[in-house]
Symmetry: C2
Subunit: 680 residues, 2 copies
Amino acid sequence: MVKLICRVLGLSVCAALGYAETPPLMPWPASAQFPAGELEITAGFSISAAGAGAADPRVKAAVARTYARLARQTGMPIQPRLVATPNVAALRVIVELADHRPPQQPGDNERYALDIAEGGARLSADRPLGVLRGLETFLQLVHQTPASSAGTMSGFSVPFAEIRDEPRFPWRGLSLDVSRHFIPVDGIKRTIDGLAAVKLNVLHWHLSDDQGFRVESKLYPRLQQYGSDGLFYTQTEIRDVVAYARDRGIRIVPEFDVPGHASSWLPGYPSLGSRPGPFQLVRTTGDPAGVLDPTKESTYRFLTAFFGEMVRLFPDPYFHIGGDEVNPREWNNEPRIRAFMHSHRLADAKQLQAYFNRRLEKILAQYGKHMVGWDEILQPDLSKTVMIQSWRGQKSLAEAAREGYKGVLSAGYYLDLMQPASQHYAVDPLKGDTANLTPEETKLILGGEAAMWEELATAETLDAKLWPRLAAIAERFWSPDSVTDRASMYGRLAATSRWLEWLGLTHRSNLDLIRRRLAGSLPVAPLAAFAELLEPVKGYERHRAGWGASTAFNRLVDAIPPESDAAREFNDAVDRYLAAPNPAAADSLRKQLAAWIQTAAAVRPLLEGNSLLSEDLPIADAVTALARAGTDALASRSVSAPPDWKAHAQSTIKDASAHRASLLVAIAPAIQKLVEAAPN
Amino acid sequence: MVKLICRVLGLSVCAALGYAETPPLMPWPASAQFPAGELEITAGFSISAAGAGAADPRVKAAVARTYARLARQTGMPIQPRLVATPNVAALRVIVELADHRPPQQPGDNERYALDIAEGGARLSADRPLGVLRGLETFLQLVHQTPASSAGTMSGFSVPFAEIRDEPRFPWRGLSLDVSRHFIPVDGIKRTIDGLAAVKLNVLHWHLSDDQGFRVESKLYPRLQQYGSDGLFYTQTEIRDVVAYARDRGIRIVPEFDVPGHASSWLPGYPSLGSRPGPFQLVRTTGDPAGVLDPTKESTYRFLTAFFGEMVRLFPDPYFHIGGDEVNPREWNNEPRIRAFMHSHRLADAKQLQAYFNRRLEKILAQYGKHMVGWDEILQPDLSKTVMIQSWRGQKSLAEAAREGYKGVLSAGYYLDLMQPASQHYAVDPLKGDTANLTPEETKLILGGEAAMWEELATAETLDAKLWPRLAAIAERFWSPDSVTDRASMYGRLAATSRWLEWLGLTHRSNLDLIRRRLAGSLPVAPLAAFAELLEPVKGYERHRAGWGASTAFNRLVDAIPPESDAAREFNDAVDRYLAAPNPAAADSLRKQLAAWIQTAAAVRPLLEGNSLLSEDLPIADAVTALARAGTDALASRSVSAPPDWKAHAQSTIKDASAHRASLLVAIAPAIQKLVEAAPN
């Protein structure tokens, strides 16, 4: 029973029940038990592979990577054994069957079992893909040998384990915009490493949008030449990335967003546009109006040829055509297009887009591709092979499923909005409007995709916008729907964030570098401590302040993670205190607040006279004022406070909660609770 | 006059003289003045190039890199302008002449002038190589705009400057062993980036040694197959690295160490050995005995063919044959070899090696290569085209020069010995025995090479063993011999260390990762604070404890830099205090010691029960004891201390100075000074 509870709730409960430390696996497996004991990792660690799938290139590459990653995670000189004998190998991999025929499909078998016991570990899987997933689990289990396990010498081990695992959803992805800010190939590969590590399996590559066209076309080279700032992927690079992803069990679904979000196509090929040209690439904020002309046959000839070129680069059976946010005026204002709508009995722009989509669907079907699009493409008469990606919510997903369309959920998983991991974690593709679907309809909900739009993110900050929050979303898509404990999630997420460093992700290190850059020649520690109390403003507020190709993303708001751990922990401590006030807890809160007053004082010399940081001086003042208000609130319970202290504190909180320099003081809500709950 | 002093002494003096902040250039230029003023770096920053050398591929590549590096150093979206017009460009590059004919030679013109003033910067150079050096200087000057410079908005600028610069020595290198531990290509490239950044110009690649043969030979593939653990550079990789280095103005001088240090040649080709085979690759400590047989013609046929293959990979005019540490017994014990010596009138092993070297020198001359070797090759009858690399000291260098041989100094620059930067900085190729050479002989001293042997370093820790100390050695080789101020060097070295991070060097970040790995799931901060007080044992002590291919380098000693900044700063503070004791200084020292007692207490929970860290528990005790002894010494001046306090303190220091876990408590010498100087 204990083991059953551990399986679902993980870390905190198991620790309370006397299990030394539940491994910080993320996503949590379908079933996991951890009998007492540790298997030591030594420099002579070796991996053998057997079974019909053992010679598969993906298995071989994954085993080779596992040696290298074990070496990084332990600092031991672990190297591939040229011949690993099954009887001696520390990890025996058994793959029952050869790989599915490529390309990888949603629903390809990812199941595995991992048994770690005295004498060795055994990873068995039906297919090579399961081996890839299981090896990630094994690597997440590697830790410093607990003090309680005597007799190990190397310092590193994996706990004994009995794990049976497979995903809840077959489509678990990240949609990544590389148009607004370009992400070089090394960033894409690093992201793929991260996706594989948390058992996601789709990189949905948003390759074109208004502000940039990012793929080399040889047929239509003016697409990238006139439609980008010179930063795009060559076809060689695309092939390299697709192969890299396949090696790691990640599908690459390309998106070319049409007919809207297509401004970047028009400088090179103005005749595609609804309006007459010429057009210039606009790399700034706002909603550029470039929309393709769906009335000309030449548009379809162009797309037929262009898609024909692209399907040779992208082997995935799915092909994303965007389809979102078409501005109807772009069509309605053109007499030529209105005449076409009239003669084709298309009542409005929506119907015209449906016509366009049906044409595209047929083109892609010729190439053997399933068309994917955002919610808006859901219009009558579309083939049932089309898939819907919902950015609007479970409602449109449910509607699509009722009409027989497959779908994935992205609403609720927009990482660019700077929301906490817990908020995304609480969103479930099968809760809300999708909860009441029939079993047959439910099967059409293939999973979900986190989305990262790059208006405010750059290659430098991308990792910090994705990680570790994306791991929590990955758990939502992989783990049983009963895995929902917020405290367990945050505990494992912190460990996952540390662990991801061994993959080379830069979500922590790059923020540190940016803070050092801000600090200039002064010590960075006071800035780092101050930054821990802050969060970026949420939602689209900062977008509205404007952005563009010449905007520098090098301010304090760019040097912090989306979520303040310190503020969350303080908030939890305040909740516990208010539920059961006691002097020890009050004292602990008071000390924390006093430390923050010090933090705000210590950072001032760094902020003053620094042209990038001086905008943050009022925030240091706000931290001080909030910490004092919290201190007053705690004092009010024991000491008689001045009659107007609370009004003063409330005014302080209001003022301190103003958004400055695109930053929030993340401790403000908890202080407000303290003040509200205090006696007058 | 002030400017003249600044030029020589840099930071500290200039600051005292009222110059806001002397730029932390390293190496310090031959001549530099900094008039008041700043040139802003904006997102629209552009670089133009003009002159006969402007179209040179090295210039073009360096300009492209400069854009990318400016973007990293500022966080601004600085991108290459497709057309940079000279009149508008923020940095105008003028290259008078086309490039020297490749390959790069020692003595190729590296001179440049950099003028930064109102309206823009101008970098002029005779040759492309000077542009490369000057761009590094420009990038080192980029900083946060000082508060005193109003009117700049972007936050980053370069100070106005008038710099005239050229190197003191034409040969400024790093000798890097990749045999004992292999360094993958990305590590080599990172190292080359670092060399170029501090204006070094030679990577001497020690490609073979007893424990590993690291180059793919297609003629003799058993060299790498039987002579390595599978880790070696393919010929494609070698070509890639050579081109990468050339792009950055770095020569690659390959070394194949013969006839000693050649054990790794013999498993694949036993007939090359002096002893009868068979041989097995031994990847452990000690002095493997494999020596080539210099008596067989087949040895020379092999080397002729092998060198012929290698000279096609390495275009540099110099080719290093090692030649060090031949064990004479390996030859003297073989009757066949003794007979050869007798018949050829070679009195001893030394003469036999001289015979071997003369044969090699002829082979290499056929290929148009100058032979380089360690001191030992200096024997009668060698061609004067041969160059000597001295690992023994200035004496052998001076002897070589008197006999007409060129030479470079490596003695005093062994980075693997974990000595402080100041110790290497004080060594000068033209001081000591070389000081009294004639001007003609002096010209034969081409410069120096730092050396990094890899017995105890791995790909993970390499950067931390090289940097930032290598920058101080680079300054010794580049800057005028009058640039010797230790305080200025350390001030600029700290800034250089931060700055090198923007190149992607991992000397700080990887140590942080290793400490996090050691800390496991506990917060790393207490371990980091504790580690600041420690240094690795110096010299060969740790080597003697044994090492090999299966040794893990993942202990605390592997997670710290060679030199403790905190200990050095404390030592300087103690020196100042003892020179002029006063209550404020005493109080400051006392507070520091009290903080360290806290540090030692705070780290204990991390060390206890941690199988990798528990060996460091006595060191935490030693820190506590030393801090108490220092506190007693300070107290003894004002309070009457117990009669035996000093004897007790001295005994504490002696005990605390014991070497444990290959670590030293770096604050011990300063504490000892405090105690010795205190009244009884």
